[in-house]
C-alpha cells in the first residue's frame, strides 16, 4: 500500500492519535482534523451538479459495507436499472459523501455502449456518514439512493 494511504484524518486515526488504548498506535502523525462536509454541503454539491431537477428514489442500487473495515479504502458498487439503449440510458452517476472534507467523490459517465450502468470503486471515509449515489438519465430525470456506513474503532467483538 502507498505511504499516503490514508484519508485526511479518519475518526479511527483520530482516536489513535488521541492515544486510544483499544488501538494504541505509535508514530501516527497528528494532523489537525479537517473540516467535514455535512448533509447541507452534500445537498449544495448535488444542486450544482444537477441544477433544479427533482430527485426521485428508486432505480439506483448503492452497495457499501454497513461497517467500514478500513476507512482508507471503503468499497462501493453502484448500479442503475436501465435498458442502456440509444433512446434510454444512464448518463451519469455522482457519488456524494456527507462526511468527507469535499462532498463530491466521483462521477461516472456512461453511454449506450457501456451495456450496463454498474461500477465499483473504493473511497476514503473520514467518519460515520451517509453516502449518496445520484443518477441522471438520458431523459433528464434524476434518481438517488443512499446508505449509512459506520466507521468504528472496533476491536471488542467476539
Amino acid at each position: 500500500m502507498s505511504k499516503n494511504d490514508r484519508p485526511a484524518l479518519s475518526r479511527r486515526q483520530l482516536l489513535v492519535a488521541a492515544g486510544s488504548g483499544m488501538l494504541m498506535a505509535a508514530g501516527v502523525a497528528a494532523a489537525p482534523r479537517a473540516a467535514h462536509a455535512g448533509p447541507a454541503e452534500a445537498d449544495e454539491a448535488v444542486k450544482k451538479l444537477i441544477g433544479g431537477a427533482s430527485i426521485k428514489e428508486g432505480r439506483v442500487n448503492l452497495k457499501l459495507p454497513q461497517i467500514a473495515e478500513n476507512g482508507n479504502t471503503v468499497p462501493f458498487t453502484v448500479s442503475v436499472d436501465s435498458p442502456m439503449t440509444e433512446s434510454d440510458y444512464v448518463k451519469s452517476v455522482y457519488i456524494i459523501s456527507e462526511g468527507n472534507p469535499f462532498p463530491h467523490v466521483a462521477t461516472f459517465n456512461f453511454t449506450p455502449a457501456s451495456g450496463k450502468a454498474e461500477v465499483s470503486m473504493r473511497m476514503r471515509m473520514a467518519k460515520t456518514q451517509y453516502v449518496r449515489a445520484v443518477a441522471t438519465m438520458s431523459d433528464g430525470s434524476v434518481y438517488q439512493a443512499k446508505q449509512e456506513v459506520k466507521v468504528t474503532i472496533g476491536g471488542c467483538g467476539g
Partner: protein
C-alpha cells in the same frame, strides 16, 4: 415464534429430563440423565442436520454459565435470545432446577453445576454424532458454524492444528469461520488444506480484485434429495479482530451475494438450502427476513443456546450455544422444494451421562499429553463463581481487569467483551488451562498508555453502538468492553454519543474529565505493533500472587433502557 410442534419437542425433552430435578444427590442426579434419553428423537423427513458452533477449541468437559444479562434493542427486545434466567425458563416451559434449566440458563448455576456436573467434551460429542449417524446413515449432515480453532491453550500452541485433527475425526461435513482468521492468512490456508471437508466463506473477497477467496457452497445427496450448504464467515472479522493479520481479505454481510448463492444452489437442483452462518443471531434473523429461498440458518457467533427452532419468514433458525455444550439436531421433510415438516432438539452434552468415544478420547489425550503438566498447574483457588458471559461484565473479566490494574500500575483497565471462556465454581482451583480458556489469543499484548477522558468516552460509546445499534446489520456481536477502575451509567436505548454518562474514576470517585489523561491498561488491541506482556502470563502471575480469589458482585455499571 414457537410453533406448536416446537413447543411439544421442548416440553417432551424437558419432561424426560426433569425426573432428575430437585434435591437429589449429585451422583443420583447424574444417573437420572441417560445417554438414551439425550438421544431420544422421533425422526422426520429426509435430512438430519446436526450442528454445533463456537466450540472455541474446548476438547475437554467444562462448566459454562449462560448469561444473566443479554439485552435486545428495538424490534428484538424481549425476544429470544434476549431472554435470560427465569424469563427464559418461562418462555420455554422449563422447570427450575431441571437439567435443561441448568444447561440453558444462569439460574442457581453453581448449585446445579454440582448436581449435574460438567458439560461438553469432544469425546462425548463424538458419541452422540456416531449414534445419530448410525441411526440415519444416509440422511445426516454435520455442520460447524465456526469459532472452532481458537480459545484454548492447546489450540494456541498448535496454531489450530489440534482442532483440525479432532474435527476431521469427528467427521464434520462443512464449516465456516471467524476466530480461525486470527491465525493469519498463511496459517488459515495451511489449515484449510489439512481439512477433510470444505471451509466455506461466501462473503470473503480479496481486497485487490474483489473476487472470492474461498469456496462458498457445498452440495450433498442426503435422503434422496440434493442439499446445498452455503458458508457465511463473521462479516466484521477485520473490524472486531486485527485486520493486519488478514490484510488481503475483505468480509461483510453481502446480503445480495447470499441471495445469489441461494439462487445458484436452487438452479443447480438443491431441494434444501442451508446457511452455515457466523453472522450472529439478530443479523441472521434480519437476513432470513430479507432473502428468499433459504430453508435453514445454523447460526453462530453470539453463543445463544435456544431450545427451539425460531422462525423468521420461511426460514428456520437454529442457535446451538457454544463450547461444545450442545449438539443441535434438526430433521426436515422436504416436498416440492420446501420444508413441510420438521423436528428439533437442542441436545445438552451432559458429560457424565454420555460414554466417551474411545477414538476421540485417545486423540484428545495424545494432543494434550505434551502440555498436560502445564495445563494442570494450579495458580490459585477461587472462592466465588467465575464466569464471563453478560452484556456488561463477568466475574472472570473483573478478575482480569483487577490483574491489569495491579500488574501494570494503571488507573483504568479495559478488557474486550469476548463471549468465549469457561466458568469456574466456588472452591475450584484455577489452573493455567483455565486462564488460557479466557485469554488464548494470537494478539495478547497488554499495553499501558495515556488516554484522555474524551477518548475513553468515545471508546465506550463506540463499543456500545456495536452492541446496541437498533439495526442488527450494524452490530458486531460480542459484549460491552469490560472496565476496571471506572464506573459509568448506560442507557442502551439512546443513540451513539448519548448512551454513556456519569463516568467516574473509582479510586477517587471523581467524574472523568474529558480533557485530562488517565493511565490505561488493556489487551487485545487490534493495532499492529502493540507492546506489553502477554495477558495470559500477566493474569497467571496475578493469581499466583494472590492465591485466593474472591470477586464481589460488580456494581460499577448502571443500566437503563433495557
Amino acid at each position: 415464534m414457537l410453533t406448536r410442534r416446537d413447543f411439544f419437542q421442548v416440553a417432551a425433552a424437558a419432561a424426560v429430563l426433569s425426573g432428575a430435578a430437585g434435591g437429589l444427590a449429585s451422583a443420583a442426579a447424574r444417573q437420572a440423565i441417560s445417554q438414551t434419553d439425550l438421544l431420544a428423537f422421533k425422526p422426520v423427513g429426509q435430512v438430519t442436520l446436526l450442528s454445533f458452533t463456537d466450540i472455541h477449541a474446548q476438547l475437554r468437559p467444562l462448566y459454562f454459565r449462560e448469561p444473566s444479562v443479554n439485552l435486545g434493542v428495538g424490534e428484538v427486545r424481549g425476544l429470544p435470545p434476549h431472554l435470560t434466567g427465569r424469563e427464559l425458563l418461562a418462555a420455554f416451559d422449563l422447570k427450575a432446577g431441571s437439567p435443561e434449566a441448568y444447561a440453558l440458563s444462569s439460574e442457581d448455576f453453581a448449585a446445579l453445576a454440582r448436581s449435574y456436573g460438567r458439560v461438553g467434551g469432544l469425546d462425548r460429542m463424538a458419541t452422540l454424532v456416531k449414534a445419530i449417524r448410525a441411526e440415519r446413515p444416509q440422511n445426516t449432515l454435520l455442520i460447524d458454524s465456526g469459532d472452532t480453532w481458537q480459545g484454548s491453550y492447546t489450540s494456541l500452541k498448535s496454531a489450530g492444528a489440534d482442532m483440525v485433527e479432532t474435527m476431521n475425526l469427528l467427521g464434520v461435513d462443512v464449516m465456516t469461520g471467524h476466530w480461525e482468521f486470527t491465525y493469519g492468512e498463511a496459517r488459515v490456508k495451511e489449515l484449510v488444506e489439512q481439512l477433510d471437508f470444505s471451509f466455506l466463506c461466501g462473503n470473503v473477497r480479496d481486497t485487490e480484485w474483489d473476487e472470492d477467496v474461498f469456496e462458498h457452497t457445498a452440495f450433498f445427496d442426503r435422503g434422496g434429495i440434493k442439499v446445498a450448504v452455503i458458508g457465511q464467515a463473521f462479516p466484521y472479522t477485520p473490524v472486531a479482530n486485527p485486520r493486519h493479520l488478514i490484510p488481503k481479505w475483505s468480509f461483510g454481510i453481502r446480503e445480495d451475494d447470499v441471495q445469489k448463492r441461494i439462487d445458484a444452489a436452487r438452479a443447480a437442483g438443491a431441494a434444501l438450502v442451508v446457511l452455515a452462518s457466523h453472522n450472529g443471531f439478530d443479523v441472521d434473523r434480519k437476513l432470513a427476513s430479507r432473502v428468499k429461498g433459504l430453508d435453514v440458518i445454523l447460526t453462530g457467533h453470539t453463543h445463544d443456546a435456544i431450545p427451539a427452532v425460531i422462525r423468521a419468514g420461511d426460514t428456520l433458525l437454529v442457535a446451538a450455544g457454544s463450547h461444545g455444550k450442545f449438539l443441535a439436531r434438526l430433521d426436515v421433510e422436504v416436498r416440492g422444494g420446501r420444508v413441510v415438516d420438521h423436528a428439533f432438539r437442542l441436545i445438552p452434552v451432559f458429560t457424565d451421562a454420555i460414554a466417551p468415544d474411545p477414538a476421540m478420547a485417545a486423540l484428545i489425550d495424545r494432543l494434550r499429553a505434551p502440555h498436560e503438566k502445564e495445563l494442570a498447574r494450579v495458580l490459585g483457588r477461587t472462592e466465588t463463581l467465575l464466569y464471563r458471559r453478560g452484556n456488561f461484565n463477568g466475574t472472570f473479566d473483573d478478575l482480569i481487569c483487577q490483574a491489569l490494574l495491579a500488574e501494570r500500575d494503571a488507573e483504568i483497565a479495559l478488557s474486550p467483551g469476548f463471549r468465549w471462556g469457561s466458568s469456574l465454581l466456588p472452591g475450584q482451583d484455577i489452573t493455567v488451562e483455565d486462564v488460557y480458556n479466557l485469554t488464548a489469543i494470537t494478539y495478547p499484548a497488554v499495553y499501558r498508555n495515556q488516554m484522555s477522558g474524551a477518548a475513553l468516552k468515545e471508546i465506550l460509546e463506540d463499543v456500545a453502538d456495536n452492541l446496541f445499534h437498533p439495526d442488527p446489520y450494524y452490530q458486531q456481536g460480542g459484549d460491552m468492553v469490560r472496565v476496571g477502575g471506572l464506573s459509568y451509567a448506560i442507557d442502551i436505548g439512546k443513540p451513539i454519543g448519548a448512551r454513556i454518562s456519569d463516568m467516574r474514576l473509582m479510586r477517587t470517585g471523581e467524574p472523568i474529565d474529558a480533557a485530562k489523561t488517565y493511565t490505561v491498561a488493556g489487551w487485545a488491541s487490534v493495532n499492529a505493533h502493540t507492546e506489553g506482556p502477554p495477558v495470559y502470563d500477566l493474569v497467571s502471575r496475578h493469581i499466583e500472587r494472590n492465591k485466593i480469589i474472591a470477586m464481589p458482585e460488580n456494581r460499577s455499571i448502571r443500566v437503563a433502557g433495557g
